[in-house]
Symmetry: C2
Subunit: 120 residues, 2 copies
């Protein structure tokens, strides 16, 4: 079973989480056959390890992590690979992979530009 | 003259800035008649005040700020309005406005979901 994790930074303000909850809702509406979980680097739960553990417990054997970050700074280049490796060590039989940050995707950037254009 | 500011958080790692530079390039290719500048809350230059000052200096009289953030946490709810008000006080004759965070936009969220789906 394949599954997806939307991995964000996290923040103190719980309202920061709202777009992530909407992403999960959109995912579930469009791809109900692929389970999705949120996970956060800091300040919010669940952690990446908790989300992976939950998905593996419900039968996922192939998990793709999508970093919902704009830029690939220190968090994604340094912290994230360590967290991902720890999850892989905990579940050696699970295929665990990650995409680039969503800010690397041309269609995401185009959507942001279009949003700005509509505001003018 | 109208102008746009793409306002991001900023980070220590200069590579974090790359998607923002790409956003500006896409904007300039698509909307060459509307000048665009980047601005950052912290850790990167220019600041919001510097970007506004630069655009006003080049003739902009109507500036829209697009917060390139996913969530509306403390930075956008508390820090950003203070910075924007200070810019408005400095340039009372300029029409200065802001959109919601790009993470509030349904099309941006759809693009992120589509990016995840292509990775499965």
């Amino acid at each position: 079973m394949k599954a997806l994790i939307l991995f964000g930074h996290g923040a103190r303000d719980s309202r920061w989480r709202e777009p992530f909850e909407r992403l999960a809702l959109i995912w579930r509406a469009r791809h109900p056959q692929v389970r999705v979980e949120l996970a956060f680097l800091e300040l919010m739960q669940p952690s990446l390890a908790e989300a992976v553990t939950s998905l593996v417990g419900s039968g996922a054997r192939n998990i793709v992590v999508v970093p919902v970050f704009f830029g690939q700074g220190g968090h994604l280049r340094n912290d994230f690979p360590v967290l991902l490796s720890a999850c892989q060590e905990k579940f050696p039989d699970v295929v665990l992979s990650a995409t680039p940050a969503v800010g690397e995707d041309e269609a995401v950037l185009q959507a942001i530009v279009d949003f700005g254009a509509r505001a003018l």
